[in-house]
Chain length 134, copies 2
């Protein structure tokens, strides 16, 4: 059971590094030499981040990526949603017979509380905060 998959994890590292480079462009080649992640994997991840407006890209020689918005405006929940979908810990397997009414399902209520906490934490933590704690 994981909260953060490899895509998201990779994205966090990359973005943290990019955020530490002010407005300079960072290429996958640099990230690849910096981290233990294959070039192809990085490219896939960064490309997605670009399409999702987290990063801006510049093509061509000396090209690379920079943040599309301030580090304080990028939170973990954004990245988790992009790479892992909406946080929905509470999937019900037995809707028909058992869970006619979600409100009366004791298990659902407990998991719902946990989910609320997880989402609120993921929302609260931004790249800016993570960078400061380094």
């Amino acid at each position: 059971m994981k909260l953060i998959n490899k895509d998201t994890d990779c994205a966090v590292r990359a973005i943290l590094y990019i955020a530490g480079n002010e407005n300079n462009l960072v290429s996958t080649a640099v990230l690849n030499s910096e981290f233990n992640i294959s070039r192809q994997f990085l490219r896939k991840t960064l490309h997605v981040l670009q399409t999702k407006k987290i990063l801006k890209s510049v093509k061509g020689i000396n090209g690379g990526f920079r943040l599309a918005r301030p580090a304080g405006k990028i939170s973990l929940i954004d990245l988790v949603r992009i790479f892992q979908g909406e946080v929905n810990l509470n999937k019900c397997f037995f809707k028909k017979k058992i869970c006619v009414n979600v409100k009366t399902c004791p298990l659902r209520r407990e998991v719902e509380n946990i989910e609320r906490y997880v989402v609120s934490r993921l929302k609260a933590v931004t790249i800016e905060q993570l960078a400061k704690k380094h």
Copy 2:
């Protein structure tokens, strides 16, 4: 992303039902007619619960399952651990280069906090409590 998989979910329903039957044995046939879960799936789940000492079984005609310990002594964390393994939200994908020291990894720390909360909640909730909330 799910917190509870189908095995665990199934187990909770079954155990709640069995707990509501005092010391009477409950067979998979009864659970199958009660719930929207296939007989084979129930058998697999109940068998595991038996080997893990959550349920006691009686073979033969009129056989079935009963709780092996009081409902107050079975918590969600027990079931999650049996069917999904130890709760370990914090798997690190990049140990070598990046996470030389876990203590200095800001992402790890955040996820660790979340994990602690999740585990503490799963520990706190017992079958007895869930049964009362019905």
